[in-house]
Amino acid sequence: MQPISNTAPVLSLRDVTLAHGTHVVVRSCSCDVPLSGMTLLSGRNGAGKSTFLQALLGVVRPVHGALLLDGTPVEQGKARFGYMPQGRSEMPGRTEGALAIPALAHIRAALYGQRWGIWASSRNDKDALEAVLARVGIPNGPRSYVHRPLGQLSGGERQRVALAQALAPLQNLERAIVLLDEPLAALDTAGRDALLALLADLTSAGTSVVLTSHDMAGLAGMMSRNVTLMEETLHVCV
């Protein structure tokens, strides 16, 4: 367990009712959840873990109530969030064409994708790209797997690329909160251990990590806290 510092980000739910279609994820829930270190968001399949993460990102809005990050609405803190969605191939836009594009282009797209118009990469852009590759342990040489199409990478390599995408737009890793949706789902034991070590390294740099999993076994001991979505409420266990 990691101690919660005074500057640790705190997520506050104020009488929140959140739904995905007709399925209620949480109903009239009020609580404070510190997010320092690593937080496991667990719950059975279909409990609404992904919907909850999307609510933190401001993509899904609560039916009622307010979600606050350090006392302000989560939408205002959008720049602090990094996000790694589930690697489901049936999502709109996640096409065969996208899998044919080199992994480096996926990371670049996450890094520069919010800029409009024509412009050339600056020295700072190149430095930022190299920094994010180094942060997640992706080699940047000419023979690196990052130059291969995303569809040709192993599960572990893909997850590193996805993590690099999540971190790429973040300005300040110390204040950042990285949301990972089922990051361990498609990994073998070695891949899972490597990714967890990478996440532990991130938290030691001050980044808060929230990850979802329906499989709590083996993870609970590594987490700063466990938050469970169950029976339309959020159970926080520190």
């Binding site: 999307q54 990102l57 993509v59 959008k78 969030f81 996000y83 790694m84 969605p85 049936e90 999502m91 709109p92 836009g93 996640r94 096409t95 065969e96 064409g97 996208a98 044919a100 594009i101 080199p102 480096l104 282009a105 996926h106 797209a109 996450a110 520069y112 994708g113 919010q114 800029r115 409009w116 118009g117 024509i118 291969r148 199409p149 040709q152 995408q165 999540a166 737009p169």
Partner: protein
């Protein structure tokens, strides 16, 4: 062959359309929207038939119908998460517009020569007025892609992440379909409603199969589209076989050759 004015017009038309088809086609293929591109060209045919019935310019009718269909497809693409629904909507728009096209042709008493022109294109009959429209549309579409190309690439590669970062994913989808609608309308002028699809899809599919980065993918897609259209024009001049045949056959040949190249490269990488 460039001693004749109609051939100079045809060559310039091919260059403009190749630029447009190569760029727009690459984004459409990247996003898995080849069927939408195919449908837009056919919808354009119905619009052109309607324009013939009303006595207007076919290109204007083609553009108007394609734009409306592009708006519907771009919006519907973001509804729900089942890809089958998107294709279903595209199919419905296509069948409804083709039915409307048949009605327009019936009302305009057949006009069979016009139908043939709309379906198969008439690159050798490009007037200077049509070329001016082509130049305007090409510049407009290229400028639009230059403005929203990067956010569109992000939204195409990872829509969930882009949405989370505040990128207007739905707006970009609609914008791309509107640009595609215009591109399809002008491509149909060159290769016809039936085969303009091959100029958009063939080079882009080949570029994606080669596993190139976005920049090189778009550049190679444009270069291949140029080779297909100008090569088709030259071969048509030599053999008297219609241009669309050479474009369609060439697109397939390029795609198969890219598969061979990738297999060869794969073998070399695996070899000790």
């Amino acid at each position: 062959m460039f001693a004749f004015e109609f051939m100079r017009h045809a060559a310039l038309g091919c260059v403009l359309v190749s630029l447009l088809a190569g760029l727009v086609g690459w984004f459409l293929l990247l996003r898995g929207q080849a069927f939408a591109a195919h449908s837009l060209t056919h919808v354009g045919f119905s619009g052109a038939a309607g324009a013939v019935w009303l006595g207007c310019s076919p290109l204007m009718g083609m553009g108007a119908f394609s734009l409306i269909a592009g708006l519907v497809l771009g919006y519907e693409r973001q509804q729900g998460r089942n890809p089958l629904n998107r294709d279903g909507v595209t199919g419905l728009v296509l069948s409804a517009s083709l039915g409307l096209g048949m009605l327009f042709l019936h009302l305009s008493n057949g006009a069979s020569s016009m139908v043939t022109t709309l379906l198969f294109g008439d690159v050798l009959g490009l007037s200077w007025a049509s070329l001016q429209v082509l130049i305007g549309v090409t510049l407009l579409c290229c400028a639009a892609l230059a403005v929203f190309g990067r956010p569109l690439l992000f939204a195409s590669l990872n829509p969930e992440m882009a949405l989370a970062r505040g990128v207007p994913v739905r707006g970009l989808s609609v914008a791309l379909m509107l640009v595609s609608a215009l591109a399809c309308a002008v491509c149909s002028e060159i290769a016809g409603a039936l085969l303009s699809f091959s100029l958009m899809v063939g080079p882009a599919a080949t570029a994606l199969r080669l596993g190139l980065s976005p920049l090189w993918g778009m550049v190679s897609s444009v270069v291949m589209a140029l080779a297909l259209s100008l090569g088709g024009l030259a071969l048509s001049w030599q053999t008297d076989v219609p241009v669309p045949f050479w474009i369609g056959a060439g697109a397939l040949a390029l795609y198969l050759a890219a598969g061979g190249v990738m297999r060869f490269v794969g073998l070399r990488v695996r070899a000790p």
